[in-house]
């Protein structure tokens, strides 16, 4: 009886009773967004773009200005690219403006005064820029001087050299030289796009690819973020730093050449102040001043924004000095923002991570009222303890045919107790995770849902074998939810598939209480086929917990801890693929479901609802403030110290409820397993497993540990339901 594959997964969101708007978790989306690495430059970049939009809207800057802006942006953009590379490498280069001036004047002097052919002038200008950058690099990388002071000194030195050059050749410079190459560089076009823009685009792509995808680029980032580690890892730090300055100088030389061709300024102030503009643009774009992080694409956006702002101030006829004031103020603001953002991005993401949602529950049954099926009693109190003081947190257990009990432990172990008289027990397997749900498969091998790791099969020698730990990632999720991290309960269907509940894609298994506070549909139910492939069958469920194959093998019972309900998922028959309710509005939060021997089902409650916790489900904003302001120990959760075990049938009728009125022996029961007339009580915070003898009228002929529908289970006709 092979289960047909589902045509599509079931979205269980409507069970929460929320509207479409409740699907959105704005704080969580913000948190996920902030946590992404590419958001590092987001805030400064976003604000910079906003600023430029504002400028375009409020000043006469219009589309006619676009070529001008781009012309300026390409020259200063080359500087910004070079500066970005140097910053990523952990240094700073303040002399780029002077290199531009010197290269520009040098090119014009070479062309007009020394009469060099352009074929020589163009490479000479770039080489001259590289040579000047090499001076910086030598002083910083080899002589180990501080970058800031070194480049400040070279700024003055190169500026002085430019002034001297201009002064010496001032008359010859005044005579313009007609040359096709100058015209091409200054006013020409390649395929209709102005030359300067093409040069810039090529440089941008090459440097971007080099910085992000080549080994050299990674070395630069490594040196910038932690020099010592980089050196210890064998990266040639001095050579890398040297090369960043050479590249910066070369790009400055190219910029100088382009500006000489375009504007032909012959006064020695060419390039003065450009380093400030480049620095502003780079910071505006979100490149970190501390080094190790940055992208030339962001720097490009920054330089375009700076030029737009500058064009705005010119278009409104603002006074010359006010532009510098505006630029300096913007630089200051964005430097502060960059610092804060870098420091607090992760922290903000953490703070916003829990975004409680609203769920609607029905009215609460009063369990203290005498005479109802729910009335508190003492049935569980005298369950004889197994492994008292040895077991720490067995969430579920499994009993084999010989009466050996296997249970989990929060230290990652699976215990085996040979029988009720075994007080010592032995550690049967070490899983390395948090073993939660236990089940037996067709060949009577132990399946354990190990929280944090996935579904494992433990062989007779105690070796765990991975069955499944991944599903396909949700298409539109920022957060990678492809791992099965919070697997809770599992059961096997007649065709050999395993259904397992993953109660949250966002928290890990040990923090289930945080999930209770958040109450969002983060969970899902997954089917693992015998060949190991996985498929999500129910998505967007609130804390799906207990999974149990029904006695006829044609449906799965799914308990939702968060919504206090049990639903049935049909896996065969005419209603295959449908989810229908079985129990709703329970007075507590259900946990693992397991079959009973008389054709019914056992359902323990991990906690009970209280009037105050019900009230709080209606105030997600208060719960969010609680998670942000109140320490973890003081968070209000449902009453986890009180618990009971319930028996129900396929029609959804509650047949009986058992309590431990003292609340000491079994304050929290998370799973019960029936075997040979005894009920084994497990609690994930308890230090024992209880073994309760059942009354004879509570026991039936079915072996609850067998997979229903297989030959070992008796036929349905025998069972009187």
């Amino acid at each position: 009886m092979k289960t047909k594959a589902f045509s599509r997964e079931i979205d269980a969101f409507p069970l929460t009773g929320g509207s479409r708007r409740d699907r959105l978790a704005p704080f969580r989306t913000l948190s996920e967004l902030f946590g992404q690495r590419w958001m590092e430059g987001a805030v400064p970049l976003g604000l910079a773009v906003l600023l430029s939009v504002l400028v375009t809207a409020t000043t006469p800057v219009g589309p006619g200005d676009a070529p001008l802006i781009l012309d300026e942006a390409t020259e200063k953009g080359l500087l910004a690219i070079g500066l970005t590379v140097v910053l990523v490498g952990g240094g700073i280069d303040l002399s780029i403006g002077s290199i531009v001036g010197l290269a520009s004047l040098g090119a014009m002097v070479a062309s007009r005064a020394w009469n060099w052919p352009m074929a020589l002038v163009v490479p000479a200008a770039i080489l001259a820029g590289s040579a000047l950058g090499a001076v910086n690099g030598f002083l910083i990388a080899r002589v180990n001087m501080r970058p800031f002071i070194t480049t400040l000194v070279t700024l003055v030195a190169f500026g002085g050299a430019a002034a001297a050059l201009q002064s010496a050749y001032s008359f010859q410079l005044g005579v313009p030289e007609q040359d096709i190459v100058w015209d091409f560089l200054g006013a020409g076009a390649v395929a209709g796009v102005p030359t300067g823009w093409v040069v810039f685009a090529v440089v941008l792509i090459v440097v971007h690819v080099g910085l992000t995808r080549s080994r050299w680029g990674w070395w630069i980032a490594a040196v910038g973020s932690d020099r010592r580690s980089a050196r210890r890892n064998g990266i040639p730090v001095a050579r890398v730093v040297f090369c960043t300055y050479v590249l910066s100088g070369a790009l400055a030389g190219t910029a100088g050449l382009l500006t000489a061709a375009r504007l032909g300024r012959t006064d020695p102030d060419v390039g003065q102040g450009w380093e400030l503009v480049a620095l502003t643009a780079v910071v505006l774009g979100g490149v970190s001043l501390k080094g190790g992080r940055g992208s030339v694409l962001r720097a490009t956006v920054g330089i375009v924004v700076v030029q737009v702002i500058q064009q705005g101030t010119i278009a409104t006829g603002a006074e010359g000095s006010s532009y510098t004031v505006i630029l300096a103020a913007a630089l200051l603001l964005f430097a502060v923002l960059d610092l804060k953002w870098g420091k607090y991005r992760q922290r903000t993401a953490e703070k916003l991570r829990i975004d409680p949602g609203r769920i609607t529950l029905g009215p609460l049954v009063d369990v203290t009222e005498p005479g109802t099926v729910w009335t508190v009693n003492d049935r569980l109190t005298d369950a004889s303890p197994i492994g008292l003081g040895k077991i720490e947190g067995a969430e579920d257990c499994a009993v084999d045919r010989e009466g050996n009990m296997y249970c989990g432990d929060r230290r990652g172990w699976v215990w085996r107790f040979a029988g009720p008289d075994d007080t010592e027990g032995e550690i049967f397997a070490r899983t390395g995770g948090l073993p939660l749900g236990h089940a037996w498969d067709h060949e009577r091998r132990l399946l354990v849902a190990v929280g944090g790791m996935g579904v494992y099969r433990i062989h007779a020698d105690g070796e765990p074998e991975l069955v499944a730990d991944k599903v396909r990632r949700s298409p539109f999720s920022l957060h990678d939810d492809s791992g099965l991290r919070a697997v809770d309960d599992l059961d096997v269907t007649p065709d050999g598939a395993i259904f397992v509940s993953d109660f949250s894609t966002r928290t890990n298994a040990a923090e289930y209480m945080v999930e209770l506070v958040e109450s969002r549909p983060n969970g899902r139910v997954v089917r693992v086929d015998p060949d190991g492939s996985t498929e999500v069958v129910i998505s967007h469920h609130v804390f799906p917990n207990g999974i149990c194959t029904a006695h006829d093998g044609r449906s799965i019972l799914v308990a939702s801890t968060g919504l206090c309900r049990v639903d049935r998922l049909w896996i065969a028959g005419p209603k295959q693929g449908q989810l229908e309710p079985v129990l709703e509005n329970l007075p507590g939060h259900p946990d693992n479901i397991n079959r009973s021997s008389d054709g019914n089902y056992w359902l323990p409650f991990v906690s009970m609802r209280t009037p105050m916790s019900d009230l709080l489900t209606k105030y997600p904003a208060v719960r969010r403030r609680m998670t942000q302001e109140v320490p973890l120990d003081s968070w209000v959760v449902p009453q986890l110290n009180v618990s009971c075990v319930m028996k129900f049938n396929d029609r959804g009728e509650v047949l009986g409820v058992m309590w431990d009125a003292t609340l000491r022996n079994h304050p929290m029961v998370t799973a019960v397993k029936e075997h040979a007339g005894h009920l084994y009580l497990c609690g994930v915070s308890n230090n024992r497993v209880g073994r309760l003898r059942l009354e004879s009228d509570e026991v039936g002929p079915i072996d609850p540990a067998s997979v229903p529908g297989t030959t070992t289970a008796p036929s349905l006709a025998v069972v009187d339901r």
Partner: protein
Amino acid sequence: MKKKLTALLTAAATAMTLAGCTVDRGGSSAGGGAGGGKQTFGRNVQLFDAHKKTHEAMKGKRIAFVPILYKGYNLTLNWGSTMERAFGNLGADFRVYDPNFDTDKMVKIINDLVARRAVDVLILHNPDVGVLTKQIDAAERAGIHTVVVNMVSSRLGDAFIGVDSVHAAEDITRRAVQDCEKRGAPKRMAIIDGPGNDAASLMWSKGVHHVLDPAGYEVVTTAHTQWQNALAQQAAASITQQQKNNICAYMVAYDLNAIAVGDAVADAAERGVIRPDSIGVYTMAADTRWCDALRAGKVTASAAYDVQGVGEAAVVTAQQLVQGGAPAGSTHTVAYVSHTVVDRSNVDDTTIACYKGR
């Protein structure tokens, strides 16, 4: 097959790229650009019609004056106030854009105005012979008339108005030579000019050399001061220190710089480095402050020119260009205003000396 296809595609792409490669983006047609209108006046005119038509022609026209320096400099302030008065009376929209000595900024402002077609006439003051070439080109293409004042640009606009710097330099240098001969001072002089590659400095140097070289005078050094007073003072002080009494005169290109040079010379005389009144300070143009310095005896003489006249001439030229209706770039003219040598004896009587800012 695949390789052939790739090669074909690459060739096609290269061809298209190369076809799109041009040397001159805009492709300026030689000579005239756009922007012609029809003439305002015909052969005859009714008396009161003339008045009305003039106003109509100029009303609402946008005129921009972009000098390299404005606030605090009487030279350009003087022009600016003349233009403001005149264009204001005519109902035209006149604005001054002050780049505050930043050539980059000046270029950007002009680029912006031209790109947005926000002006009809541009009055420019070119600090560097070549820097406004492309801008004037672009203005022509956009139909904007250009008038360049005082410092010529190698790409002529529609008109240039200034002073005949070479001739004026020659005149004042002859006067300086005369003074030097009278004193019997050594035949050595020093030139102090501006950036050195601008029209004014180039022509000043030319004029000075025209006279000094045949006369056998030696130009000890040519100092470039970027029009900055501090640099001029520094240069003069160091040259005086070096040369001491071995120098006869300073030929300073800018009148305000001449005041600073005069101060340096007077200071050196006071300190005893040189004999008093042994070095003359000669310049071109006569600002009112220079006149004060002249009366105080710090500077010697100047080839004053009609600064006011330049401003008026620019106004007149602008009106002519607008009314003439010819397209921008179709005419090119160079015009000079008058100049004369002033010294203490005639400074108070000469109208064109001691210009003020308003």
